[in-house]
């Protein structure tokens, strides 16, 4: 417990302390003038910070929306139909999850370069979506399976078309599932904004928070209190979303991966 939380506590503590207290050796455990000063000052030190935050949200939102668009029909199909290669293709999806993006970087880099897409938002969104699709399909499939097929059949007998069934039965009943999968995709893409971001994008105006802050560590003496403050600001959104919805997310993920 201490091991897990200490880094966060210390990050927060450091963000409240004045810089000259931090830069004292040996380590001082106590500072008497704690303040949120660093949270104001960081916007000056990291002038692009608002832009990084916007980028992070923008990238995560677009990535998760695109992921959902691909995943909804596929998951529905896996949940409702029987067809050749159904199981083997599901296992292939699981296997894709095990490949790190690092293995694919070279060809992706070359392709993005040929199409002039390096240093754009697309360069980070396109590979991001690919790595979210597999888990998202598994998750959403299990939600679709919970909708009783009798409902659909009854509607079918009453003469409803497939589109009508989708609109009036499936869509409303699967909203909770869609929300959870959407949030999974959002948190997932928010968290993965590093590898693709440092590889495919050098332009500051497109950087998400993690790579933006990482770059900052490189070339200046780091103002650690502000760095920690900025990091916490970057962490906050996912943490808040997660705390509210952790029950559903954990239940969905564990059932998908352990029991199938």
């Amino acid at each position: 417990m201490i091991f897990i939380l200490l880094p966060f506590v210390e990050m927060f503590y450091a963000s409240l302390r004045p810089l000259d207290h931090l830069f004292r050796s040996p380590y001082q455990f106590y500072s008497d003038d704690l303040s949120f000063w660093a949270y104001r000052e960081m916007w000056n030190t990291v002038p692009m910070l608002p832009r990084y935050i916007f980028n992070s949200f923008f990238l995560a939102s677009v990535t998760s929306i695109i992921t959902l668009l691909f995943v909804i029909p596929a998951a529905y199909s896996y949940a409702r139909f029987k067809f050749p290669f159904k199981n083997s293709s599901l296992y292939i999806l699981l296997a894709i999850n095990m490949f790190s993006g690092a293995v694919l970087l070279i060809p992706l880099y070359k392709v993005l370069r040929t199409f002039g897409l390096l240093n754009t938002y697309q360069a980070m969104i396109v590979p991001g979506v690919a790595f979210l699709i597999p888990t998202a399909i598994w998750l959403l499939k299990s939600y679709f399976e919970k909708i009783p097929i009798d409902l659909e059949e009854a509607a079918f007998v009453d003469g409803a078309s497939r589109v009508q069934i989708l609109r009036h039965i499936i869509a409303p009943l699967s909203t909770p599932g869609l929300v959870v999968v959407g949030i999974y995709a959002f948190i997932g893409s928010y968290a993965q904004q590093f590898l693709f971001a440092i590889t495919f994008n050098q332009k500051k105006e497109y950087m998400p928070i993690p790579s933006g802050l990482y770059e900052f560590i490189g070339y200046t003496t780091v103002k650690w209190n502000e760095m920690m403050a900025a990091s916490l600001v970057g962490i906050a959104p996912v943490l808040i979303i997660f705390l509210f919805l952790q029950k559903y997310i954990v239940a969905g993920l564990t059932s998908g991966a352990v029991k199938n």
């Binding site: 417990m1 091991f3 897990i4 939380l5 200490l6 880094p7 990050m11 830069f23 050796s25 040996p26 380590y27 691909f70 995943v71 029909p73 596929a74 199909s77 067809f83 050749p84 293709s89 999806l93 699981l94 296997a95 095990m98 690092a102 293995v103 694919l104 970087l105 070279i106 060809p107 992706l108 070359k110 392709v111 396109v126 979506v129 690919a130 699709i133 597999p134 659909e152 059949e153 968290a191 904004q193 590093f194 590889t199 928070i209 790579s211 802050l213 990482y214 560590i217 650690w224 760095m227 970057g234 962490i235 996912v238 943490l239 997660f242 954990v250 564990t254 059932s255 991966a257 352990v258």
Partner: protein
């Protein structure tokens, strides 16, 4: 009824049509690059162009002492990191499963390292590991364990250990949550029966809990091994594979060759080795999963 009304073939067509967009996307962004990586590994591709060079990349790679060292290092790193994650995860799950006050709060509190972007978490660890001003060096100096400032990431051995600890920090919460979910799935009456027979706490753990959750432990060790093997951000942010290569794992080496030096051919050859190892892991995992599923459906 649905099935009677629509013929099997039209169903199959609809099913495939619905899957097609996702499938095409994955083929384009994952499958094709994998094949392209294999092709590139037989060339000397760089920003300047490429020529077919046969097995040269592989010959150079396997005859290099440095590369063999990297492979060994990767497995040592993985072994320590995965074992620690499993041990701490198991202990954590037992504690969280016990009837303690406030356990629901603790169950939520173990999770942050898992959800927080790894890269940002590592910025925090960079500060903790700071040799002059970080809290770990500070406590060490105060208690006299260290006799002066100590840069944890500046020396070969301590950097190796430090990156493992950070990796365990990131990976343990997930392992804990999965173990906990498995423990809660163990039927209650088993415990009640054992309790009536007068089994001690230890007995109940070793004779009921542990055997019952063994399938999950095995799957989690494999999954965790795969993720640890793939771990890139943690090492990259903390040390970039240094000092003097002491934390360079296969993934880091692949990245450095390919995108640090733009030696695409050499990088691709390393990526192929990574791929083959991952496929072995994945094969094990899927075979195991199929066996477990069979067992469950038989029962």
């Amino acid at each position: 009824m649905n099935k009677k009304l629509k013929s099997y073939t039209t169903q199959t067509y609809i099913a495939y049509a619905l899957i097609a967009p996702a499938a095409l996307y994955i083929i384009l962004i994952v499958a094709w690059p994998l094949l392209e990586t294999i092709r590139l590994s037989f060339t000397n591709s760089s920003l300047a162009g490429e020529d077919y060079v046969g097995l040269e990349n592989y010959q150079k790679m396997f005859s290099s002492k440095k590369f063999n060292g990297i492979v060994t290092r990767t497995f040592v790193w993985m072994f320590f990191s995965v074992s620690l994650k499993l041990i701490i995860g198991l202990i954590g799950a037992v504690l969280l499963n016990a009837n303690l006050k406030g356990r629901s709060i603790f169950r939520v509190l173990v999770m942050p390292p898992w959800v927080v972007p790894i890269a940002i978490g590592m910025l925090g660890w960079l500060w903790l590991y700071n040799g002059y001003f970080g809290i770990i060096a500070g406590v060490g100096m105060r208690t006299g364990i260290l006799d002066g400032p100590f840069g944890f990431l500046a020396y070969k051995q301590s950097a190796f250990i430090s990156t493992i600890i950070a990796d365990v920090w990131v990976g343990t919460p997930m392992v804990t949550v999965f173990f906990l979910a498995a423990m809660q799935g163990v039927p209650r009456d088993l415990y009640e029966a054992a309790y009536c027979d007068g089994a001690s706490r230890w007995d109940r753990f070793f004779k009921i809990t542990l055997p019952q959750i063994t399938p999950v432990i095995i799957t989690m060790s494999l999954l965790s091994a795969i993720w640890t093997f793939n771990s890139f951000e943690i090492i990259w942010i903390l040390t970039e594979g240094g000092p003097r290569g002491s934390t360079t794992t296969l993934i880091i080496d692949t990245y450095k060759q390919a995108l640090g030096n733009y030696k695409f051919g050499r990088g691709a050859a390393r990526a192929v080795v990574v791929m083959i190892l991952l496929m072995l892991f994945a094969g094990f995992y899927l075979a195991l999963l199929a066996r477990i599923n069979k067992k469950i459906s038989h029962e």
